[in-house]
């Protein structure tokens, strides 16, 4: 203590990124899938996919422009298919 406000922001941003990617860029399990599951993607890979979809610079890092898009009101359907 005292907690540095910037650190708080980082924590909040990290949580926002994780929630966003889990919600909209995680392949939803296909109930009819038989056999092996696909390898889980890393956060950076999912972030790149999101940046590519929105026409942002594909850095794999949560830069300010990426965070700004993540904060916009939107539809709850994932951007990547089943």
């Amino acid at each position: 203590l005292p907690v540095h406000p910037e650190n708080d922001n980082h924590k909040e941003d990290a949580k926002l990124v994780q929630d966003y990617l889990n919600k909209f860029y995680a392949i939803e399990p296909d109930p009819n899938q038989l056999g092996w599951k696909a390898k889980a993607e890393s956060t950076a890979e999912k972030l790149q996919k999101m940046q590519q979809f929105f026409g942002l610079k594909v850095t794999g890092k949560p830069d300010s422009e990426t965070l700004e898009v993540m904060k916009k009101p939107r539809c709850g359907v994932p951007d990547v298919g089943l």
């Binding site: 009101p73 539809c75 709850g76």
Partner: protein, 368 residues
């Protein structure tokens, strides 16, 4: 666009509104939902019928946070606004709206008609599009409901699933469709020449007219100039093969498909006083190199060579253009004549004789 196959195997679909949001009057919710379905039935063979009991293909409900057996949850105000499921049984085709949002039929809060039309796209088998102009773009963006919300990308997407034979009922669908040029009340926001073409602008749309061989093409403004807003109020072609577009107190200079760097700029940079908030219409007289800007019942004159406003303006439009006594919506010059537009009327004006030659309908250029 993207699709989640397969689509519905039938074209007659039912929907049921399970509950209503207290944010809006019930009849406004019903109308928003009905109009949202009509957006899709206008461009496909699909027919949507409302039922009040039992299980419909598309079950519509307002929910909050985790709700029932739905595999997704809502997150309170903002964030996720609604979600839907692709065609199928069970949750298939169902649409849920987050009741924690502020639902409206206008531009405040979130417009239920726009969000519903987007979610119904999912319920019919579309996934998200990365085209920012598309209704199926994931992020919410308000578009005036009076304008047709589907972009060419959306239409291609839904027609790739259901075909493109619309089942058009005898009377016109009540949902806004792309404007009909031959309607008797057709009016325009702005008109400009573009080399040998004449461009007519209204809302999000523009028409390219080739007067010499009577072709007409309808496009979205954003198809050519994605950086321009809809609702352009004035436009003119200057002497340097450029077009200037005006909206509110801003203007853009376009050369070919590119907006010149540094635009939009304030119209004050052209020499208008602070009190001028918008431009109604503008035309550059190719014979004199002078551009007339029409605002209310007055006009300003700008010297394109000197790049400055002429002294002694504004002047009363009616004094210098006899017969042009109403507010000018749009104006352009063709073969030496000026064509002034106000609502559904147009006046052909001969600047040499300094008089109106004839009054014609605004859509006379469209071979109606």
């Amino acid at each position: 666009y993207g699709v989640t196959l397969p689509g519905w195997k039938k074209t007659n679909l039912t929907y049921r509104i399970v509950n209503h949001t207290p944010d809006m009057r019930e009849e406004d919710v019903d109308q928003a939902i009905q109009k949202a379905f009509e957006v899709w039935s206008t461009v496909t063979p699909l027919i949507f019928t409302r039922i009040y009991e039992g299980i419909a293909d598309v079950m519509i409900a307002f929910r909050t946070k985790a709700h029932g057996h739905c595999p997704r949850y809502f997150d309170g105000p903002l964030g996720v606004l609604a979600h839907a499921f692709p065609p199928g049984n069970g949750f298939g085709g169902d649409v849920h709206f987050d009741e924690d949002e502020d639902w409206t039929s206008g531009s405040a809060g979130f417009n239920l008609f726009l969000v519903a039309a987007h979610e119904f796209g999912h319920a019919l088998g579309l996934s998200h599009s990365n085209d920012q102009r598309a209704l199926m773009y994931p992020n919410y963006a308000y578009v005036s409901p009076s304008e047709f919300p589907l972009s060419p990308d959306d239409i291609r997407g839904i027609q790739s699933i259901y075909g493109s034979q619309p089942n058009v009922p005898d009377e016109k669908p009540s949902t806004p469709t792309s404007p009909k040029t031959c309607g008797s009340q057709m009016s325009f926001d702005a008109v400009t020449t573009l080399r040998r073409e004449v461009i007519f602008l209204k809302g999000r749309h523009l028409w390219r007219v080739y007067p010499d061989h009577s072709e007409v093409e309808l496009e979205l403004i954003s198809t050519f100039w994605p950086m321009l807003p809809s609702g352009i109020q004035a436009a003119y072609e200057n002497m340097k093969d450029q077009i200037l577009f005006f909206k509110g107190n801003k203007f853009w200079v376009i050369s070919g498909y590119q907006v010149l760097l540094g635009y939009p700029k304030s119209i004050n940079t052209l020499g208008f006083p602070k009190g001028v908030k918008k431009i109604d219409a503008a035309v550059c007289n190719k014979n004199t190199g002078k551009t007339d800007f029409f605002i209310g019942d007055k006009y300003w004159r700008y010297d394109e060579y000197k790049q400055s406003m002429e002294k002694g303006y504004p002047r009363q439009t009616a004094n210098d253009f006899p017969g042009i006594s109403q507010k000018v919506d749009a104006v352009f010059q063709q073969k030496g004549f000026f064509y002034f537009f106000h609502g559904p009327k147009q006046w052909e004006f001969d600047p040499t004789a300094n008089k109106v030659i004839r009054e014609i309908k605004s859509n006379s250029w469209f071979n109606c």
